[in-house]
């Protein structure tokens, strides 16, 4: 039997996990400082800020270690993001929520380490997954498995979190302002210049700069560096509205449905489109859950697990849950005067699954969209719906009234939406502020 780790070791591990909250290392005794330094290095968490903390202690041993290892203070190569990000967003306002549908997250986490390690992560294990999760060391994270989910919402409710919907549990228990979520089969992408894309930074930039849904800007995002509003853009609309949702894209395996991918088995997306744009008001689109970020305080309850296909599976092209949820979110955003952006950041989506095998399962999803799209295009919310929860409840009502006769799936979806609002109110943290 292995000797359990000593208290000191556990403390040091905890310190490494909570580095983002440490502002002063001078109280540490020298030998502990060195050990902490080495563990931080091993965990891949020696950022410029942390290095400066160590240097600020003034301890000779730290300096000799830095010299011996030839560690240099380099300017962290951040991608061109708005200056706003570094000024007003603290790392502790962000949660990264990962739904684990596959047990071995080692390569996923390691590939994302340089980008994710600053932040707190919430990993939710698909309750249907039997194997143990494998997660590498060095991250500040909370892992939720079926027993945890059962404990928080009850065993009968926990079924709503099966499959890709497990991530919604993460949204529910998060207490942060911004959430970023990517599928567990996606890695960081490289842009046209070969530089690694910091998807988190780009999503945060999208969420913290205004959106412009009321008039189309032909030079795309006017708040990005090197761009602006074009001639003919009304000045009264140039301050924009708050952006609630940022939808990223995917290189390599694009988010196609099974028939499309089956028809073009070799097709891979290699086009990196250097743009972010606001999706105009009242324009709907398929919002994919593969690479998404949102302002949880403003729009949290509207991202919800509700539509579940009869044959829903463990590949994206065997689901429609995110598409359905995305329609709700867009309708709610349009009603509350919030913005939705699409475009960068890109992630690299790995090849996985067999489109032809999935054809049979997703066919019902494909058919459903024929009803779903015209339905959402016609939804109009009442003036009294001023909070996100109210909006979601109203959408649920309309779904029940208009769609339940078409397919029992819709009736179940409507009920799930109503239940979700209740769950959000009881378990979720402070609810959203009224919309504009």
């Amino acid at each position: 039997m292995r000797t359990p780790p000593c208290l000191l070791s556990l403390t040091l591990d905890s310190a490494v996990h909570n580095l983002s909250n440490i502002t002063d290392l001078s109280p540490f005794p020298d030998h502990i400082l060195i050990e902490l330094f080495l563990r931080t290095l091993r965990a891949g968490k020696l950022t410029e800020r942390v290095l400066k903390l160590f240097i600020a202690t003034g301890k000779d041993e730290v300096f000799s270690l830095i010299q011996a290892l030839n560690i240099q203070v380099t300017v962290t190569p951040v991608l061109p993001t708005s200056k706003l990000m570094s000024l007003s967003i603290k790392d502790d306002e962000i949660d990264i929520v990962i739904g684990a549908l596959r047990p071995d997250l080692t390569s996923f986490m390691n590939e994302w380490r340089t980008i994710f390690s600053r932040f707190h992560l919430i990993i939710v294990k698909d309750p249907d997954l039997k194997e143990e999760l494998k997660i590498p060391e060095g991250f500040n994270l909370d892992v939720y498995k079926k027993p945890d989910i059962d404990r928080v919402v009850g065993t009968s409710t926990s079924t709503i979190f099966s499959g890709y919907s497990c991530r919604y549990f993460g949204y529910l228990v998060s207490r942060k302002k911004y959430i970023i979520s990517v599928d567990d089969d996606c890695y960081p992408a490289k842009d046209n210049k070969g530089i690694l894309v910091d998807a988190v930074a780009q999503h945060i930039t999208n969420l913290t700069t205004p959106a412009t849904p009321f008039f189309f800007n032909t030079l795309y995002d006017p708040f990005t560096e090197g761009a602006d509003f074009v001639r003919g853009y009304p000045f009264s609309l140039r301050s924009g509205v708050q952006c609630a949702l940022s939808c990223g894209l995917w290189l390599n395996l694009a988010d196609y449905d099974a028939p499309t991918q089956a028809l073009k088995p070799e097709e891979r997306n290699s086009r990196y489109v250097d743009a972010v744009l606001t999706v105009p008001a009242r324009t709907l689109m398929p919002i994919s859950g593969i690479n998404i970020a949102f302002n949880r305080e403003v729009i949290g309850p509207a991202l919800l697990p509700s539509l579940r296909l009869g044959g829903e599976g463990k590949f994206r092209w065997e689901t429609m849950e995110d598409i359905w949820s995305g329609m709700c979110v867009k309708v709610v955003c349009d009603h509350l005067g919030l913005g939705v952006k699409t475009g960068m950041p890109y992630v690299w989506r790995n090849d996985r699954g067999d489109a032809i095998a999935s054809l049979r399962k997703e066919w019902e999803g494909v058919k459903l969209m024929e009803e779903v799209v015209p339905f959402f295009q016609s939804v109009r919310l009442s003036r009294e719906a001023t909070t996100t929860e109210d909006c979601v409840a109203e959408v649920a009502n309309v779904v029940k009234e208009q769609l339940e006769s078409k397919d029992p799936m819709f009736a179940r979806a409507a009920k799930a939406m109503v239940d979700w609002v209740k769950l959000w109110k009881s378990v979720g943290s402070s609810t959203s502020s009224p919309g504009a």
Partner: protein, 365 residues
């Protein structure tokens, strides 16, 4: 730092597409030296040159181009009293070229626009891309997150209803500009050094119900589908406003395209815009427009065309009526403009008599 392309000959297509179905309309007041740069791409096509300003001046056209040229005297002769609807001392006069053309497609470009380079350094054949845009369907009813699904290497994403994947005919292809961006005067004054160096490799359909600022610098359209709505308004000499010609046309065509179920695309191709006009001169021209657009845009956003408007001309005349009713109170200019819009349609129909048994272009939404 972006630069215009120089090795254009290498990029010219062996078989120029649609050379008998497309006219290139160019307004000019100075000279047409810029055509030398475009020669490999433009030479197979017929040019319609609309000479603005002093008609006694001779505009030199580089040799080897097949063209017709109209100055103010020609415009007055051809249209008679109806010539009042064509602007003078403003590039808005270019719409006269649309009217006299007999081709299906129009490509219009400013005389300070050159060939751009894509990120790989290759010269961009703007004409070829516009033709592709116009010949592929648009998808205005539902937004595709991977942009134009008909481009090579792209498709409709998961969740896009199959019933909407056929798309609708594309009426307008709106291209963009590298180097000097199309900013208004206030923005130019604040950012005189800003250059557009971002090559966004996308074409997308502007969704139904969404208006946009249409720039006439790099524009192509299907004359059969939307031609009569491409009136560039009353600008320039004797008018209280300038630099809103293309904007006005853009708002009109978008409302009409939305009504008739036609598509408008924006994005590629890029051209290289070389000259920044004087921002103080621009400010004087645009000044009124900057205030008026606050009223104009809600007007267009709320404009509804009745179901019996099944042709572009009917839609346009109806729109003119609504302009007179609702915008005259903003300024008497709009009263004049509404009249000019009707005059334009009359002139259009005179020069382009409908052939026997012609069908309405597009169907009302």
């Amino acid at each position: 730092m972006v630069e215009p392309a120089t090795a254009t000959q290498a990029a010219a297509p062996v078989m120029p597409q649609l050379k008998d179905e497309l006219d290139i309309v160019i307004p000019t007041i100075r000279n047409l030296d810029f055509l030398e740069m475009w020669r490999p791409f433009f030479q197979p096509y017929h040019l319609i040159i609309v000479q603005d300003g002093d008609p006694s001046k001779t505009i030199k056209v580089p040799p080897g181009f097949d063209y017709e040229l109209y100055n103010r005297n020609d415009i007055n002769k051809i249209l008679g009293p109806k010539a009042s609807c064509i602007s003078f001392k403003d590039s808005a006069c270019r719409c006269f070229g649309y009217m006299v053309s007999k081709k299906k497609y129009i490509f219009t470009i400013d005389d300070d626009c050159f060939v751009a380079k894509d990120p790989s350094g290759k010269a961009v054949n703007a004409l070829e891309q516009h033709i592709k845009n116009l010949q592929c369907p648009s998808t205005p009813f539902f937004f595709n997150t991977l942009y134009d699904p008909f481009r090579e290497g792209a498709d409709f994403v998961r969740g896009y209803p199959f019933s909407l994947r056929e798309g609708v005919p594309t009426a307008v292809s709106h291209g963009l500009w590298l180097n000097i961006p199309d900013y208004d005067a206030p923005t130019q004054l604040v950012k005189p050094l800003e250059r557009n160096t971002r090559f966004v490799d996308a074409v997308l359909t502007i969704p139904k119900g969404t208006l946009f600022p249409m720039c006439g610098m790099n524009l192509a359209f299907d004359r059969d589908l939307i031609g009569p709505a491409m009136y560039f308004g009353l600008m320039g000499d004797g008018q209280p406003i300038g630099r809103y010609d293309d904007m006005w046309a853009g708002w009109c065509i978008k409302v009409i395209c939305d009504h008739l179920g036609l598509g408008v695309k924006t994005g590629l191709p890029y051209i290289y815009h070389s000259k920044a006009s004087n921002p103080f001169v621009n400010l004087r021209k645009e000044y009124k427009g900057i205030f008026w657009q606050e009223e104009i845009i809600p007007f267009f956003q709320q404009a509804v065309l009745p179901k019996d408007c099944t042709t572009v001309q009917k839609c346009y005349v109806e729109l003119a009526k609504q302009v007179k009713e609702k915008l005259s109170k903003v300024d008497p200019y709009f009263d004049k403009l509404a009249d000019a819009m009707v005059t334009w349609i009359k002139a259009w129909d005179e020069l382009n008599p409908p052939t026997a048994g012609s069908v309405p272009n597009g169907k009302a939404a």
